[in-house]
């Protein structure tokens, strides 16, 4: 009896200490749930896309922001995730659940192979290795007719999402929006848990001082590979959801342009904060789309913003938000 009381006391204590965070979570979720009602169809679609890209950006943050290992080919996992979902739904069985179970296996395995081979190289050498792998995959898929070649894998018929009690029609954007929000929120919770875990502390140690970490009894290589695999899995999941949303998977999804863009999202949003890269992804997606409708050479402005943020806001836009909250 006493033990039970202790436990509930501890829960209550935990709740009290984290009440601010809980309130923020509820407010943000409520805001996200209400948002589509204020958006036109066009912006609703854009919101879905940006939320999916937010998870992709966060997946890169796990390795780049926390373990300090930059990947220049992260789109490989995003693209392979998309193609894997496409193949499963188009040719095997129209089950979203199955696709979302298989995608992490494929992307995790891919990340493991790339990771094991590349991780011994450090810094820029590792980054270039990942770029090379991504380009090879890009070329392979580009020249594979069974996967649609340069046209991509088109015409993925979006099946209903079976939620046991009812089937959710994902062809309705509003439903897809909520699925994307739930996906992003759950991904964030898992990633947050991960970076705050003992494992996450070791990653931060590797980022700060890789050599010393190995003297503390940690096998740095194993830690880096595991982080890379987890990162690849989340990138794959987000890519799968992206393809489901677009109803096609294209080679652009694993092109180095996207690998570069997701790095920009991380840097603009704030590396090593999880939420920052998500903010960066949403910001960049919306900003780019809105700007491009007014101004053909909009990349100039994005480039300028990028430079300003990198120089003046080392913790990105998210750092700016946190700074205001602390009244700094």
């Amino acid at each position: 009896m006493a033990g039970k009381g202790d436990k509930s006391m501890r829960c209550l204590d935990l709740l009290r200490r984290n009440s601010n965070i809980l309130i923020i979570h509820i407010l943000v979720l409520a805001g996200l749930c209400a948002l589509p009602f204020f958006l036109s169809d066009y912006y609703r679609m854009l919101a879905i896309e940006s939320i999916i890209l937010a998870v992709f950006a966060m997946s890169l943050d796990l390795i780049m922001g926390y373990a300090g290992i930059a990947s220049f080919g992260h789109a490989a996992f995003f693209g392979v995730g998309g193609y894997a979902l496409g193949v499963i739904i188009k040719y095997i069985t129209p089950s979203i659940w199955l696709a979302f179970l298989v995608v992490p296996v494929i992307c995790g395995l891919l990340a493991f192979i790339i990771g094991v081979i590349s991780i011994r190289a450090r810094g820029i050498y590792f980054a270039i290795m990942t770029l090379a792998f991504a380009e090879v995959l890009y070329r392979i898929i580009f020249h594979t007719h069974a996967l649609g070649g340069s046209d991509g894998l088109i015409g993925i018929a979006v099946p209903n999402l079976n939620l046991a009690i009812f089937k959710l029609d994902l062809k309705r954007p509003i439903n897809f929006y909520y699925v994307a929000v739930v996906f992003a929120y759950l991904s964030y919770l898992v990633c947050f848990r991960l970076v705050e875990s003992p494992f996450g502390r070791v990653l931060k140690g590797i980022r700060d001082n890789e050599d010393r970490v190995s003297f503390l009894g940690f096998n740095v290589t194993h830690y880096k590979v595991i982080a890379f695999v987890v990162s690849g899995i989340f990138a794959g999941w987000s890519g799968a959801l992206f393809s489901l949303f677009k109803t096609f998977a294209t080679t652009e999804q694993l092109h180095f342009l996207l690998s570069g863009k997701v790095i920009v999202m991380n840097l603009i949003g704030g590396l090593g904060t999880l939420l920052g890269p998500m903010v960066g992804a949403v910001f960049l997606t919306f900003f780019e789309t809105i700007l491009s409708s007014y101004f053909a050479a909009y990349h100039i402005i994005i480039g300028a913003i990028f430079i300003v943020v990198v120089i003046f806001l080392p913790k990105g836009l998210f750092g700016l938000i946190l700074g205001f909250r602390k009244g700094k």
Binding site: V190, R193, L194, E196, S197, P198, F199, G200, R201, V202, K204, G205, R207, D208, N209, D211, R212, V213, S214, F215, L216, G217, F218, N219, V220, H222, Y223, I226, V230
Partner: protein
């Protein structure tokens, strides 16, 4: 023998950094490695701790052949080291530095647990902070500590893996005389629990704490003996100690 280096050599190009060094350390001893700059002391430490591989020779620790064993495995065997150039986690708090080091003793990967529940690591970290007198600074960022405190933290990180043998590379480099004094007392307390091998330039400290002293010069071992024997060794006086004694 608890720890043994046999005929270990390492060259960098034409320079013989470590040249056929053979030495042994008994369990529970405090042994100092002295010698002029460039004598090969730190290179020897790097050879012992798997940072670089010896070209020839073998190293044994606690009945294991550890020649070329990577640092993380050495740490698990109970061999830990500190560095000449402060090598801490600048962006973490003092407490997190030590807890991370202590966490190295937990072998499994814990991806979804909570660090605050790592009770043994937390307890150990608190014990070490207290031992080093860093308790007050526990929540400060390591990078903001004074030089002397960073040196203590450096030592604390090495201690947190609960080694049976500790290699200290110039633990008092850049410390004030008072801080050095405190370090001497600390080493005296540590010797009850572990074997210590230290590289040190502070001759006063060396003679106060050492059971044995080894002198290196130009990659080779020049002398190896009790403090008094080393003090009276002509070759050592010429090569290194000079007027100081």
């Amino acid at each position: 023998m608890f720890f043994e280096v046999r005929q270990v050599s390492k060259s960098f190009g034409a320079l013989k950094a470590v040249d056929r060094v053979t030495l042994a350390v008994e369990k529970g001893q405090v042994v100092s490695l002295i010698g002029p700059n460039g004598a090969g002391k730190t290179t020897l430490f790097n050879l012992i701790t798997g940072v670089i591989y010896p070209e020839k020779g073998d190293i044994f620790f606690n009945n294991h052949r550890i020649t070329g064993t990577p640092p993380y495995k050495l740490c698990r065997l109970g061999l830990s080291r500190s560095f000449q150039i402060t090598n801490i986690f600048q962006g973490m708090t003092v407490f997190e530095n030590i807890r991370l080091a202590s966490q190295g003793q937990v072998r499994k990967f814990n991806l979804l647990g909570s660090v605050s529940r790592l009770t043994p690591s937390t307890k150990e970290a608190e014990r070490i902070l207290d031992l080093l007198g860093l308790w007050e600074q526990r929540d400060e960022l390591a990078g903001t500590l004074s030089h002397g405190d960073q040196r203590y933290l450096e030592l604390g990180i090495a201690l947190a893996s609960q080694p049976s043998m500790l290699l200290l590379d110039e633990p008092t480099a850049g410390m004030t005389p008072m801080e050095t004094r405190a370090s001497i007392e600390l080493i005296k307390r540590l010797r009850e629990k572990m074997t210590i091998m230290l590289i040190e330039h502070d001759i006063g400290l060396v003679f106060e704490v050492s059971d044995r002293i080894m002198v290196m010069n130009q990659g080779g071992l020049l002398a190896d003996g009790l403090p008094n024997e080393v003090k009276n060794n002509k070759a050592v006086q010429v090569a290194y100690l000079g007027e100081e004694i």
